[in-house]
């Protein structure tokens, strides 16, 4: 035996209240007075006031009828339709990309979406809610949550990620979550078209709410700086995406000082290049266009100037072909002895020849024959991996007389002859390194046109990882290779407010979400980096909202009717209260 609805044991409360009524029932104090003459008259009149008189005569009857009526109605289980949301499980996909920050009627598209979501949540009735934010990767915030307060909290806490939002991925995730049950999907974005959802399988109802409207936007498409003959020059591209002529003011500032200003007038739909002839030397440059448009986040770009690695330190007896080749492609070579390796080489790339791995300086490095003990003649054909450094190089056409075989360098092999590794490429001590296992002199490689190309591409690669720092996309994760003693990175905003710190040995570096200039402090060195908007977010497209797979063809589609049948409880409740009143009336007789 069991109780189906033990909750109703709470109604024992009524028993308690009856007891309380019993205990506190009216007790009249006996009082002898000379005459009741007037009191009787008074009470008669008091009770005989017209409206109460009629009622009272049959009060008990009416009350009993009322109780029976209420009970009867309660048994009929009345219900009516209330507005609600279709589906047992509701999945909300929210676009958090930068374009959602575009203004429309004074509020951002994102806030508008949040309002919509809040409105939907208000209509929820014990339905499960899943909220997914669509960033570059979809993020599941709540999964099948029923607690309205928690959902509300999550919705209130929604923030723009400024990333490019891969809506398709997010919707696909939502679709996969919607496996069973009666699910409906709500997408909040700004420019989803019905065609984008063509690939979606299944028949779950999808409502796409595109926020905002067509808006004016002038975008600072790109901004870059370069160094030319010891002058810093810049170039920027401004695009007018609106349908009217726009005048924008391009401002470049460094450390809060304006260093350049130019007014640009752009035809609708046109792009304009602005060349900035000369800029003072600074760590970063902030370009900004001042224009009246609906989307301000793409009006600013930051360029960080970085010391370009133009120096190459040649350590040991480096082949003159290498030296010449590097000089030809624009590198400044510096010859050093082995003893000078302890010097600060941080502004350049290192080339070593005949120096064993243990003695390599901790820099991006090209090593030639580090292990020259066992010379082997090359007889079989040279095979190369499909590596970017071999693009246009045709290394397999090179004649190589002999190579040194080495077993103690465990780097990925990108070119080999039979089992003999010729060129290896990888990271050593967290720094990029390339190893050439044969002396250049023993080959005809320098005579090939591919040789300088190979050098150029190799050094680009070696330098590239060094120049990792500079630009990030909002919220970008990037694994950074750092030394063990250089792993604590602190990130501050441009004006020195601490944001967070990373232990880069254990976690990847995550760029802040908000575009702007940031600085990091690592090893007591401050470096600037910029978080710039994804190019795909530099416009504010808009498409009208639409729905697909809707089961009901109603005019107001996002609300469907749910029967509300909780009324019987209230009817019984009222009946009980009337019962109490009836007892009270009965107990008092006809007196009040």
């Amino acid at each position: 035996m069991g109780l189906m609805n033990p909750l109703f044991l709470l109604l024992a409360f009524f028993i308690a209240s009856v007891l309380i009524f019993y205990m506190f029932r009216k007790r009249y104090e006996n009082k002898m007075i000379p005459s009741n003459l007037l009191w009787e008259q008074l009470m008669n009149e008091w009770q005989a006031s017209p409206w109460i008189d009629k009622l009272q005569r049959n009060l008990l009857l009416f009350l009993q009828l009322l109780i029976l009526l209420l009970l009867m109605f309660a048994l009929t289980r009345p219900y009516w339709m209330t507005k609600g949301i279709e589906g047992e499980h509701i999945i909300l996909v929210v676009d958090t990309s930068a374009s959602m920050s575009a203004l429309h009627d004074g509020i951002t598209r994102f806030d508008e979406a949040k309002e919509e979501i809040s409105a939907i949540i208000k209509d929820l009735k014990h339905q499960e809610v899943t909220i997914i934010t669509a960033g570059s990767v979809p993020n599941l915030l709540v999964n099948k949550e029923v607690n309205i307060n928690r959902i509300k909290k999550v919705v209130d806490g929604l923030k723009l990620s400024y990333e490019y939002s891969d809506m398709e991925k997010a919707i696909r995730l939502a679709n996969s979550l919607a496996v069973n049950k009666d699910t409906s999907l709500f997408v909040f974005s700004d420019s989803i078209k019905a065609e984008d959802l063509n690939g979606m399988t299944g028949s779950i109802p999808i409502s796409v709410f595109n926020m905002g409207n067509e808006g004016n936007n002038v975008s600072l498409k790109s901004f870059g700086i370069g160094e030319k003959e010891h002058h810093v020059t810049g170039i920027s591209v401004i695009e007018n995406q609106s349908k009217e002529l726009k005048t924008a003011t391009l401002l470049i500032n460094t450390n809060e000082n304006n260093v350049f200003e130019e007014k640009v007038t752009i035809e609708p739909g046109e792009q304009k290049f602005v060349k900035i002839p000369k800029l003072p030397v600074s760590e970063y440059y902030k370009a900004k266009i001042e224009v009246n448009d609906d989307y301000s986040i793409d009006n600013e770009l930051i360029a960080v100037s970085r010391p370009s690695l133009v120096k190459v330190y040649l350590v040991g007896d480096v082949s003159p072909f290498i030296m010449k080749g590097l000089e030809n492609i624009g590198y400044e070579t510096i010859q050093m002895t082995e003893e000078d390796v302890e010097r600060d080489l941080s502004d350049g790339i290192v080339v070593v020849e005949n120096i064993p791995m243990e003695k390599w300086p901790k820099r991006p490095l090209l090593a030639i024959t580090p292990d020259n003990n066992k010379e082997i003649t090359i007889q079989s054909e040279i095979k190369t991996e499909n590596d970017p450094v071999f693009q246009y190089v045709e290394f397999n056409k090179t004649f190589i007389q002999s190579a040194f075989s080495s077993n103690n360098i465990n780097l990925p092999v990108i070119a080999k002859s039979g089992d003999i590794p010729l060129i290896q490429k990888g990271t050593v001590n967290g720094l990029p390194a390339m190893v050439i296992q044969f002396p250049i002199e023993n080959t005809d490689w320098p005579l090939h046109t591919g040789f300088p190309i190979f050098l150029y591409q190799s050094f680009q690669w070696l330098a590239a990882n060094e120049e990792f720092f500079g630009f990030f996309l909002p919220g970008e994760h990037r694994w950074l290779n750092v030394d063990a003693d250089n792993n604590e990175w602190k990130v501050f905003t441009g004006n020195g407010k601490f944001i967070e710190s990373f232990n880069l040995l254990e976690e990847s570096f995550t760029a802040p979400q908000k575009p702007g200039i940031y600085q990091t402090v690592a090893n007591e060195k401050t470096m600037y980096f910029a978080v710039n908007l994804d190019d795909r977010e530099k416009s504010i497209p808009y498409s009208p909202s639409f729905r697909i797979n809707q089961p009901l063809k109603e005019s107001d589609q996002n609300v469907v009717n749910h029967p509300y049948d909780g009324l019987w409880f209230w009817l019984v409740f009222v009946a009980l209260i009337v019962l109490f009143i009836e007892w009270e009336v009965m107990r008092r007789g006809t007196r009040i």
């Binding site: 104090e29 009082k31 000379p34 003459l37 008074l42 009149e45």
Partner: protein
């Protein structure tokens, strides 16, 4: 409980004012409108045959040669009847009962001191007889008798009882009651009393507690006479309604009295009997 000597001395100087033409049968000290045998000279009138020859004033005859009869004012008693309501409703509140007793005792005292005939009837007092007295020698005794009136039995209504006790030939009837009976009954009673054509004084006594009920909350009010019960949850609104009703009741009582030329006095126990008798009664012209 007793009055002070001082007060009694002052009471002795008072007398009840009665304008009635009719007087009692016996001699008193009250000056009558009739001619009689007092020492007070009234007037002369010519002798008519059949007049008592002894009454002819021979001195006047000597001067005028005509027979004149010398006349004197008569001094007579009056009959005063005092009806004290001794029903339970009067006795339920001690202050009211005491006031009623004091008033009736003092009025009886005044009556007797003035050599008038007193008839004191405690209405509804089962074991007490009415007092019929004349002469100031009884004054003190009657005073204390009335003041020491102790009653305990429950009684029926005042009106029923008083009707059996009504007496004719009284120059002044004083009714002391609390008026707690239906107005219609009182109208009948007063009509009947008015028919005796004497001066009637209706003294209506209520206690302060009846005028401003002090009890609060739920009360079961028990009638002291009929023992009927009324359950009342007293609220300020109810009390004000009660007071309104009481006022109407009193006004109707007073109106009925005025209609029958009955003097109506309303007393409550806030003032002492001494105060009432020595100042208010004089002001109202009951005593002088």
């Amino acid at each position: 409980m007793m009055f002070s000597h001082e007060f009694l001395a002052r009471l002795r100087k008072l007398r009840l004012v009665v304008e009635s033409k009719r007087t009692g049968a016996h001699k008193g000290i009250r000056r009558s409108h009739k001619f009689g045998t007092s020492l007070e000279f009234s007037d002369f009138r010519t002798y008519q045959p059949g007049d008592d020859v002894r009454l002819v004033d021979w001195n006047v005859y000597g001067r005028t040669r005509r027979h004149y009869i010398k006349r004197y004012l008569d001094e007579q008693e009056i009959n005063v009847a005092i009806f004290l309501d001794c029903t339970s409703s009067m006795r339920a509140l001690e202050t009211k009962w005491l006031l009623a007793k004091k008033i009736s005792a003092a009025l009886s005292y005044i009556t007797l001191v003035n050599e008038d005939r007193l008839s004191f009837s405690p209405i509804s007092a089962l074991d007490t007889r009415s007092i019929e007295r004349k002469g100031s020698i009884y004054a003190k005794q009657v005073l204390s008798d009335i003041l020491q009136l102790q009653l305990s039995a429950r009684t029926s209504t005042f009106i029923k009882e008083i009707e059996t006790n009504l007496q004719k030939g009284k120059q002044l009837s004083i009714i002391i009651t609390d008026g707690m009976e239906p107005i219609a009954e009182y109208e009948k009673l007063l009509f009947k009393i008015a028919s005796v054509k004497s001066k009637i004084l209706f003294i209506h006594i209520l206690s302060k507690e009846e005028i401003e009920p002090g009890y609060t909350g739920d009360a079961k009010l028990i009638d002291s006479e009929l023992e009927s019960e009324v359950n009342v949850s007293i609220s300020p609104k109810l009390v004000s309604n009660y007071q309104l009703r009481l006022k109407q009741h009193n006004e109707r009582l007073e109106h009925t009295c005025r209609k029958h030329h009955i003097q109506y006095l309303f007393l409550n126990d806030e003032k002492t009997a001494e105060e009432l008798l020595l100042s208010d009664f004089i002001t109202w012209g009951i005593v002088q």
